[in-house]
C-alpha cells in the first residue's frame, strides 16, 4: 500500500451530493480524496458558452439531426442544447442496456448534473417520510423530518435558497432568501385555489438562487442571480448553486481535498480479514491505468444508478452478489418521478398587464392528493409546476417587402398562456430494478447496466387524476381553451432516478441504515439518490444535500469515537 494513495475518506462522485460529502469531511479535518469519472470543470473558467449571445452560436442553439439520432435519450432532454451540450454524456459513449425504454441523463464531470439542474429546492415533510408506512408500500423510512430539519437549514443557508415562508404542513418552510414575485395571472390562480379548495396552494417555487447578498456568499465568491436564465451553461456570477462554485472550492480551501478527475470507479475493495471496506479501485479514463486508493470511510455519491453499478460490481467472498447485498435487494425498488402530463390554457383577463424580464423559477403547487387520507383509487400523489406568461408576437406572413415590414413592426403581446406539469410519485417495486450484464462491458471493463424500470397502473391512474383535477382547477379560475396532454415519455427524463440501495430499519429488507451506512459494511455511506426509500413528489436534490451533510458529520463523529472501525 503506497502512502500517497492513503486518505481518511474517499468520496466517489463530484456532483450535487458528493460535493457536500467532500466539503463536510474536509471541514472536519479528514484528508479526503474526491474521485470523479469525468473531466475537471472549474467554476467560470470552464463554462465556455456562459457569455455567448444567441448569434454567436454557430447553429443558433440547435443540435444537429445526426447528433440527435446518435443520442436519442439526451436529445429528448429539455436542457440539451448547443449552448450546454458539453455537459451531457453522449448515449453512445457510455452505453447501457434498456430492458424497458429508459432515458438516462448523465453529466460526467466535476460538478456532475449540479451544473445543469433545474434548481428547484423543496423540503420533505413527514407526510413524505411516513408515506410508505401509512400506505403500505416499500419499507418504512428509518428517519423522519425532525432528523433532517436541522440539516436542511444548514445546507439552505450555505447554498442560498429563495422562497417564501408559506406555512404549509406539506412543504416545511426553510431558511429563505427573498422570493421573486408571482405575476398577476399566477396570483389570480393562487386566489382561485384559495377560494375554491382548502388543500390546494400555489406558491413561489423555492429555488437555489441568490436573491440577496450575504456574507457567506461573499466568502464563496458568489454574487446575485441577475435573471439571465442561462443557468445550464454555468453561471459566471455564481448566482445559482452548483458544486463547482460552492462546495468543492470550499472543500479545497481547507487544504484537505485531493480532486482526482478522469477516474472511473471499478469497485470497492473489501477485506474479508478486516470485515470492512478498505479502499477503491479506479481506472484512468484516458490512460486506462488502474490504481487503488485506501481510506477508512468511503462515500458513494456517483449518482443513483452509477452508485448501484459500483456496488453490484464490488464483489468479494463475503459479498458475492455485490457489496452490502445480503438480502438481494440491491438494485431493486428503483423509482422516479412521473412527469408525463401537462395542461395548458389561455387566460383572457389581465390584457392590460405584462411581466418584464425573466426569472429563474415558476410557481409550485405542493401535493394535495391523498395527503391527509386516502381519497383516490391510486396511491400517493403529485406536485405540479405552474406558470403564466405573455409572449410578443409578430406575424411572419407575406413575402418580400410585406414580410420585412411584418418582422420589423412593433410586436404585439399575445394572451396570457398558463401551463402546468405534473411531478408524480412512483411506487418502488422489486421489479423496477437494475442489474449487471454478465458478459458485456464498456471500454473500461465495467459491466453494462441493465435498466428495467417502467410505469404501472398506479401511474396511469395518477395521470388521469392530474388531468381531471387541473382541468377543474383551471375552469374554476376562468381559463379557457384548456388542453391536456400525455407525452408518454419513458422513465428517466425526469432525471430523478432514485432507490436501489434503500434505507430502512431492517437489514433483511433494506441496504442502508438510518445514517446511510451499508447495514453490513458500516464504513460505506451512500447519500445520493440510491439511498431513497421512496420518492415523494419534491425535486430531490435539496434532500440529497441535507442527507449528505448529516451522514458525513455523523460518520466523522463515529470515527472520532472509534465506533465505525
Amino acid at each position: 500500500m503506497q502512502n500517497s494513495n492513503k486518505y481518511d475518506a474517499i468520496v466517489i462522485g463530484a456532483g450535487m451530493s458528493g460535493g457536500w460529502s467532500a466539503k463536510e469531511l474536509c471541514e472536519r479535518g479528514l484528508k479526503t480524496l474526491l474521485v470523479e469519472r469525468g473531466r475537471d470543470v472549474k467554476h467560470i473558467k470552464d463554462y465556455p458558452t456562459t457569455n455567448l449571445k444567441p448569434w454567436e452560436f454557430e447553429y443558433r442553439g440547435e443540435i444537429s439531426r445526426a447528433e440527435k439520432e446518435a443520442n436519442p435519450s439526451i436529445a429528448r432532454c429539455y436542457a440539451y442544447r448547443e449552448d450546454n451540450k458539453h455537459f451531457f454524456v453522449k448515449d453512445m459513449e457510455h452505453p447501457y442496456i434498456q430492458d424497458e425504454e429508459f432515458d438516462w441523463i448523465r453529466g460526467y464531470q466535476v460538478g456532475g448534473k449540479s451544473l445543469m439542474w433545474a434548481r428547484q429546492t423543496q423540503r420533505w415533510s413527514d407526510f413524505d417520510f411516513e408515506g410508505p408506512l401509512r400506505d403500505g408500500f416499500a419499507v418504512d423510512w428509518p428517519i423522519r423530518y425532525k432528523d433532517l430539519a436541522p440539516w436542511y437549514s444548514y445546507v439552505e443557508k450555505f447554498a442560498g435558497i429563495s422562497g417564501n415562508k408559506d406555512g404549509l404542513d406539506t412543504l416545511p418552510d426553510g431558511e429563505f432568501l427573498p422570493a421573486l414575485d408571482l405575476n398577476c395571472v399566477e396570483k389570480h390562480f393562487q386566489s382561485s385555489l384559495k377560494r375554491n379548495y382548502s388543500d390546494r396552494h400555489l406558491i413561489y417555487g423555492r429555488c437555489a438562487h441568490i436573491t440577496e447578498q450575504r456574507e457567506i456568499f461573499r466568502q464563496q465568491g458568489r454574487g446575485l442571480c441577475l435573471n439571465r436564465t442561462e443557468c445550464e451553461r454555468g453561471c459566471p456570477f455564481g448566482g445559482y448553486f452548483n458544486a463547482n462554485s460552492t462546495t468543492i472550492p470550499w472543500a479545497a480551501k481547507t487544504g484537505n481535498l485531493t480532486l482526482r478527475p478522469n477516474a472511473i470507479l471499478l469497485s470497492i475493495i473489501y477485506s474479508d480479514k478486516e470485515n470492512k471496506a478498505i479502499g477503491v479501485r479506479v481506472i484512468d479514463s484516458e490512460s486506462k491505468e488502474i490504481t487503488e486508493y485506501f481510506a477508512k470511510l468511503i462515500f458513494l455519491n456517483a449518482g443513483a444508478l452509477n452508485t448501484l453499478l459500483i456496488m453490484l460490481n464490488s464483489t468479494s467472498e463475503r459479498f458475492p452478489n455485490g457489496i452490502g447485498n445480503d438480502n438481494g435487494a440491491l438494485g431493486k425498488y428503483v423509482a422516479f418521478h412521473n412527469y408525463r402530463s401537462r395542461i395548458n390554457a389561455i387566460c383572457e383577463d389581465f390584457g392590460d398587464r405584462k411581466s418584464v424580464g425573466k426569472r429563474p423559477t415558476s410557481g409550485y403547487i405542493p401535493r394535495f392528493r391523498n395527503v391527509y387520507r386516502q381519497e383516490t383509487g391510486f396511491l400517493r400523489g403529485y406536485a405540479a409546476g405552474f406558470s403564466a406568461a405573455r409572449y410578443s408576437q409578430r406575424t411572419k406572413d407575406g413575402i418580400g417587402q410585406e414580410l420585412k415590414e411584418h418582422l420589423f413592426a412593433p410586436s404585439e403581446l399575445g394572451p396570457w398562456v398558463v401551463n402546468s406539469h405534473m411531478m408524480g410519485e412512483t411506487v418502488p417495486k422489486a421489479t423496477n430494478r437494475v442489474y449487471l450484464d454478465p458478459q458485456k462491458t464498456d471500454e473500461w471493463g465495467m459491466p453494462l447496466l441493465h435498466i428495467s424500470v417502467k410505469y404501472d397502473d398506479n401511474d396511469e391512474r395518477m395521470i388521469r387524476d392530474f388531468q381531471d383535477q387541473f382541468t377543474d382547477m383551471f375552469e374554476k379560475a376562468g381559463f379557457v381553451d384548456i388542453k391536456v396532454s400525455d407525452d408518454h415519455r419513458a422513465p428517466g427524463l425526469d432525471i430523478h432516478e432514485m432507490g436501489g440501495a434503500r434505507m430502512g430499519n431492517d437489514p433483511n429488507t433494506s441496504i442502508l441504515n438510518r445514517w446511510h451506512q451499508v447495514h453490513s459494511c458500516k464504513n460505506i455511506i451512500v447519500t445520493d439518490g440510491a439511498c431513497m426509500t421512496s420518492t415523494s413528489t419534491q425535486n430531490p436534490s435539496l434532500t440529497y444535500m441535507a442527507m449528505a451533510a448529516r451522514a458525513a458529520n455523523h460518520a466523522v463523529d463515529e470515527l472520532e469515537k472509534g465506533a465505525i472501525l
Binding site: K53, S64, L180, L226, D352, K404, L407
Partner: protein, 184 residues
C-alpha cells in the same frame, strides 16, 4: 408555358441530372446527402438573390459573420434528414430551372419581383397538380419543400442576427431585474 408541360420537362431533367452529373450547369447543385453544401459563386449569388427577394435586407447593416448562402449551406445538412437534404437540393435545382423557363431568361437577369411572384404561386398552391406522374409529383413536392425551407431560413437568418436581436427583440445578455407585473 403550360404548367404540366414544364413539370414533365423538369422531371426529365431531374432524372438526367442524377444519371449524368457531368452534364449539369454551374447553377445546379450535385445531389448528395450528409455533406455540407459546397456552393460555387454562381450558386451563392443566386441563393442570395432568392433570399433577398423573399426578405429584403438592403437597408439593414449586418455584422453577422456569415452570409445567407453560408448559413443555408450548413443548416440544410445540419438539421435535415438525408431524405430532406436530397429533397431540398432537388427542389433548388428544379426551382432554378423552372424560373428560368417561366421567365425565359437566365437567373442573373431575373428581377426580385419575378422571384416573389414565383414563390407566391408555389407557396400558395395548396394541392399539387392532379393527374401528374409520380416523377412530376415529386418535382412539385421538392420545389414546394425548397421554397418553404428557403423562406423559413431567410427569416431565421435575419431574426437570429445581432442587429435584429438587439434592435428589434431588445436582447440583453444580463437583463437584471424582473418585474412581475406592470402595465402593458
Amino acid at each position: 408555358m403550360e404548367r404540366r408541360k414544364a413539370l414533365k420537362g423538369l422531371a426529365a431533367l431531374a432524372a438526367g441530372l442524377t444519371l449524368l452529373p457531368g452534364c449539369r450547369d454551374k447553377l445546379q447543385i450535385e445531389v448528395r446527402a450528409n455533406k455540407k453544401l459546397e456552393l460555387n459563386d454562381a450558386q451563392s449569388t443566386w441563393i442570395e438573390a432568392i433570399s433577398e427577394a423573399i426578405l429584403p435586407k438592403d437597408d439593414v447593416v449586418f455584422t453577422t459573420y456569415e452570409s445567407f448562402s453560408k448559413y443555408i449551406s450548413k443548416m440544410v445538412t445540419f438539421r435535415n434528414s438525408e431524405e430532406a437534404q436530397v429533397a431540398f437540393i432537388n427542389g433548388y435545382n428544379s426551382c432554378t430551372r423552372d424560373i428560368s423557363i417561366i421567365y425565359e431568361t437566365r437567373t442573373s437577369k431575373i428581377k426580385p419581383q419575378q422571384i416573389i411572384s414565383y414563390f407566391e404561386r408555389i407557396l400558395g398552391d395548396q394541392e399539387p397538380l392532379l393527374n401528374t406522374s409520380p416523377e412530376e409529383m415529386k418535382v412539385q413536392k421538392d420545389i414546394l419543400f425548397f421554397c418553404h425551407q428557403v423562406r423559413k431560413m431567410s427569416i431565421e437568418h435575419l431574426t437570429t442576427s445581432r442587429e435584429y436581436q438587439e434592435q428589434v427583440l431588445e436582447y440583453k445578455l444580463v437583463p437584471g431585474s424582473y418585474i412581475s407585473c406592470t402595465k402593458a
